[in-house]
Symmetry: D3
Subunit: 334 residues, 6 copies
């Protein structure tokens, strides 16, 4: 079975239930997530083999993070332990016109202090087919950035398909590197670009418009600049409110513009990780479908994630395919 | 006070809260339900006298089931105890386009092993006015089927009104009998048919269309075939998603087609037992109202059940009548 | 910093979670609230200084109420303790077309037995800028009424702006006074009227219509009758269901009619205290904005309260201003 | 089956879990109890028929109280509804050397406002064998006192065995009657006295010592004074701490002093209602055993109640008999 | 790393929290366990490699069971799926002198319907060092018995050490086989006997006494009868109450009698699975220690399990060794 | 009212309920604590005025920490906000012979990054009577150390009584300073030493024995070395297990050795913060009692804290005095 390798931080998410604000609570629900682990979790549920490379804390919190990954079926043999606390974030889940709020505690955590020399990429990637990274990882610390770049270089050398989700987060990048420049550099080591006009403008310092045409032109320019990139997969979200979202997807396949129907989620259970569900859908599709079905599959996977609590998408391939077949009315399955 | 008798399995329902999937949980909420008990519960809340005939396990789980029935006000004097575990089901509650999923553990349970000879129908039905059964019961086991048929024969003999909700469930009927044939046989022992084109086609092996005309023709054919049937009450559901449902009702009164307004529930709390709430509404209406109001009452009761957690409808007659009067905006009552 | 003084009962609210009915529960969530405390809480979150005058029980329940007020930042130095239990109410939270239901236990409680002589209004109001009262307080008991009237008289004497929310609740007024007459009397000791046609008709014994014109005419008549009143601020609610509400606001500024956009909350978290959130928005606006922005601010604050669990609005000024700027799509804030 | 009649208030108990103090909580667990209902619940679990006469609130809280009684199997046909809130109490559960604390809200509640004329004692007691009362009831209100005395007079007339648990609570008796005098009067209408030196001294205004001899002399004097009293059953508690209790029982049978072994509960789950469990054990024993076994049975029932959460004892006769046979080591039962 | 293979049923355990009785609850906590899985879980925590052979249901409950095993680190590659519901049990957790009660639902469940032909013991045991079985498995069904015997025969052939915990449970053995005879047969295919006088008497139909001498003589007789047995490891429990237990261990090493200190647990958190924790301690000791330390280690592991909620022992080797070193005072570790 | 000033970190504590291990949980209970805040909370409950100087995070977590302090009644006007996450710790609560385990995340948190220049000690201490510090604070960071030393110097200058609890924690002191040397330096700026042989040996690099005599000699030597120290208050703990503790206290008053009775807590609810409860008892006693009563009071306060969940002691002066009077049997207070 072909193996997907993900590299990124595992975070503990702590949030009050019932849309409470933190100060209304005495209890927090927790989940383990993080953008790359979310992709990994999705792919395991799609019956793919996935190994996550990461570093966790050398305490019972780190042990719990590893157990949570095992629970999902993610391979954890190359998880290292570092003598710093596990990264975490607090989440106040919004509703209606009240936005969700996140507060991070990660920049001095275990993953930020990963030792690049402890990661044997040659061995890890030996039987890899896909390597997935996001723009979060290189923004965390110099060590995270260096480890990632090492991995990408070896992945490219081995002909592994690198999928990139290079979104820029302004609350990262505190260690001295320029985010825009780093993301551009790493895009040059990637093959599939998961992002849209926003991310391309960020990387190319351009100002393409947020239209179909803008997306196509931006994609072409990106591929022109970074020829390793073959395709660009984007999703477009229209939020009615924190509880009501609409999404569709679009792509530039290298030769044509394709798009999907819009899916509507009027009672959102959880917004976190929906982008990661989309990315996982793309990776699954790359391996199993042609581009149009890949895009529909990823969009439907993303839509379904809105109905799943926590950071990880726990739906199976059949659950997604049912949406593609139009079964969106939520009839009880006995 | 005229007495309603129901006969059927009491199941424990186990479901994670917060729309979680089972594997995201360490806790399960439980409710006691089962289609006939749900009807019984509704009718007690409508201030009718209801006795449920059933068999539960001879352990603390069965004791809890009986206590739950007493809590609702259902008469439990004829509940028997059998040395098998209580039937139960696991429920993952869906949301949006993700359907709810149910997994049963009932086919070797207490009710399936009921001893027909322990049920004294002559005595039970002595002061009965209504006897309600559904298509679930005869599908569980030979013993359940035989006990039910005994009861129906005596009910018909005594002139008790038999209400039938003969839906066919394909995951039952494992004990050797042909479901379609049994449901037809038992329909012949009934007076009020709660079902529509789907159920009639199943029983008559016909293929009437899912239109107003199809419903009328199917109803006429049913009554022609089984002259004990006087009226046919149906409800029509349009699911926008697992969280958003629309329902209206229609009936063939023996002489005319009647129908109701459509009610919309945009934030469904619980889908389970809504059909049973409808059936209970019909039975209450049969006793208290003419057909049009009966249909409106049942449709409104069904709509209200979507806002009540668990399997049982806990609304009172006045709650339903307020919907009929158009008070659907959920204004706070102080 | 100018100080707002509120006077009213602090109630413990007890409600089952998950929209359960009480008899489906073994646990109750509790919050401390009460219409005037809700206004106080909002204003503290808007960074105003607020002192609540009230009486609580002389037991650990009263201690908890005081701690809850301190938690919010409300000044509690003039809270007195009375040897009667704290008032409370049970709430069954509705959904869809099922209304919420409230049952009170307050009429013989601590606040109803407040001793007017223990409240030193001269001292309390020394550095006050605003005094807020509602129609609940004088309806509870003779003692509550007398204490309030004392306060209002001294407030008027000191030139403090008195904001009145004189809604009439028919389940109060059990102690012998005529509610309509008392509310009229106290309106005559007030400057800002927070209410609409309904409240004005109640007080003036008129029958103005529920139209824009009716509101303007009613407001003019009110100001004519009670010249201390300067402005009338009203909000208009359209409930689609208990879970889906629309609101907009209107005002008569003394010289012109102004109104706001309508805001829509399709997934209501909590309806209680939304009117108090509006009143607090008005008071904050009176101090900081001109009339149109005051009205928009209050309407947005009210809308946001629908997304906050419990009786108190916990949003900050910036949260409200973002709604005014059109950021209603609930985008995650990291 | 002989019927036991109990008369008394049904209270909702509200307590934080995990031995929290109220102000550390946002949630309360609730149970319905009250000393007479606790006795009723115990007796139903001992397979006796029990009818409770009481008054509850005319709202969903009162409905829930009735449903809770039905859940236990208590007959509720003579429960009346009164337009006052249901009585309740808050409980902070202590631990170790920290005592539990209770705060009541009952003196203006539904039961205090029971209408004596709505209770048809002649009919209720027609097929009664036992009538149980406690010193709480006449302390609540004049109405409660009068209703009770009516009942006792008719019970005595009918030759029903009246069991009295006439403990004096100083936080009651606010309505003008002298508690000591009333308890004495009602003891004169009783047959079995459940109490010890403390209660006898209270009623007789004596000062017998807290010794075996004191108990015997006090019992003799009591029977001398109130010849309707036949036997005196007492229990003696030694608290090591709130979490560790020891109990034994003693009785004066009219002719001899008897006593039991001491039972030890080193991990108390719930202290509330243990005295009521004892009283129920006495009543069950009166009907089924001779005095020594009655005393042992009641003591063991009381001990077991310490292991049951809530106010009601939920153990069965066999559970108690196992303790009498020495099976106190808590071996798992499969 | 040498591999331990376990074979047995995975059960879902459902129990109310807070020592509640089922009928006092609306929620159940659940854990996955089962005697062999408990041993497996312990051994993984001791850093051994463990593979469990079992069959689970083909639904989301079975998926959750597998995920729970993965969470613990148990290898699940040979878990099969069967179209029957997962076995489960309800547990009411006792306290003090109230015993815990268990009610099973397992005899028609997935594991009972395992297909012996789907288990490739040759392959599974290829790199096995230990094979652990208990007396539960052959009591469930003919299929379970046959699958187990197949495995034991191949294990013996391969020279794998077979550890047997052949306790007899009278509520099993419903499928026709004689339990005593089967356990004797399978003991003949085993090398390490984990049990004492009780189990030996059962198997040999003897009546050795429950004394040190009785244990030694019974062990000798057992080894004489079944020469494959090398050693006998027993534990002796003295229950003060359900909440307070004392345990020590004894063994016949084939040449001498050894015993341990007694450990005392005065605040038991969970009694379930303590025997399995002991068995796991023995297996770990067999591989790493001489007999005396093995016995001490197993006794301490068993003691520690009493402090862990759920069926599985989650302590590590170091946690156990600390007890051996006398650190039993529960000092906080920072 | 004389004011106590405390200076130290406010930590969020996160722990699974029911003695679970983290990896058995999906939910965490949280409390705000920290050794100095615990002392502050105790003293406020003893009706003293307390101001805490600290730094929290500039996010909703920090806001919640401040609200929690206000809830307790601690003055928060000098709490500063720093752009780093709030410090926190995870706690697995042990039981029996299983120790509790703590994992910290604090060394790069808000308090560690406090800016000494933002703390105006002159102003803060203007009306102070007591200043309390512990050995935790100077171990966190250079900034925390410097801020503390500044405060102590000014406190000494102003004649404020400085109470020191200079315990050494080896998992702190990562920023370069020598812990032993710093604690010695700061002891020289203190008046009351709360600690025993262990702490004195640490500071003086001595090796006094853990006996009464050792304590007296160590205390004398300490006072000799640091003449600002007047008295030494110590407590002695004997842990039977994590759930069962015994404590007594001893002191060197400068002129004599005094000691207390031993108190026993056989069902510990929470061990955290018991030392802080003792320190608060000492401070309260210093102000209100002579030495012997001070010691008894502090010991009883410490004992009571073992029965309170969370880090803060929530008992009142009367609760403590009752223990002194021998009321340790946990009798219910109504």
């Amino acid at each position: 079975m072909s193996k997907v390798v993900t590299f990124g931080e595992v975070l503990m998410r702590l949030s009050p239930s019932e849309n409470r604000k933190l100060r209304q609570s005495h209890q927090l629900e927790f989940f383990f997530g993080g953008t790359e682990m979310n992709v990994a979790a999705s792919l395991v549920n799609f019956e793919m083999r996935v190994q996550q490379v990461t570093a966790v804390s050398k305490d019972f919190v780190g042990d719990s993070a590893i157990a949570a990954m095992r629970h999902l079926g993610i391979e954890v043999s190359t998880v290292t332990k570092v003598d710093h606390p596990l990264g975490l974030y607090f989440l106040e889940i919004g509703a209606g016109m009240r936005p969700s709020q996140i507060s991070y505690n990660r920049l001095n955590a275990a993953f930020a202090n990963i030792d690049p020399d402890t990661i044997n990429w040659e061995e890890i990637l030996e039987d890899g087919s896909y390597f997935h990274w996001t723009g979060i990882t290189p923004g965390i610390s110099e060590a995270a950035y260096r480890t990632l770049r090492n991995g990408l270089e070896i992945a490219q050398k081995k002909g592994i398909t690198v999928t990139a989700d290079p979104s820029y987060r302004s609350n990262l990048w505190k260690y001295g590197k320029d985010g825009q420049q780093v993301l551009a550099e790493l895009t040059g080591l990637s093959n599939i670009f998961i992002g849209g006009v926003n991310e391309i403008n960020e990387i190319l310092k351009t100002d393409f418009e947020f239209t179909e045409n803008g997306f196509v032109e931006a994609s072409k320019r990106l591929i022109n600049t970074y020829p390793s990139i073959e395709k660009v997969f984007d999703k477009v979200r229209t939020g009615v409110s924190a509880s009501w979202q609409k999404i569709y997807a679009q792509a530039w396949t290298g030769t044509e513009y394709i798009t999907t129907v819009e899916l509507e989620i009027s009672n959102v259970i959880d917004r976190i990780g929906t982008g990661d569900a989309y990315a996982a859908g793309i990776i699954y599709g790359l391996k199993n479908y042609e581009d149009q079905k890949t895009l529909e599959f990823a969009n439907a996977a993303c839509a379904l994630k809105h109905t799943i609590l926590g950071d990880n998408n726990l739906v199976k391939v059949n659950d997604v395919l049912e949406i593609l077949e139009g079964n969106t009315r939520g009839r009880i399955k006995r």
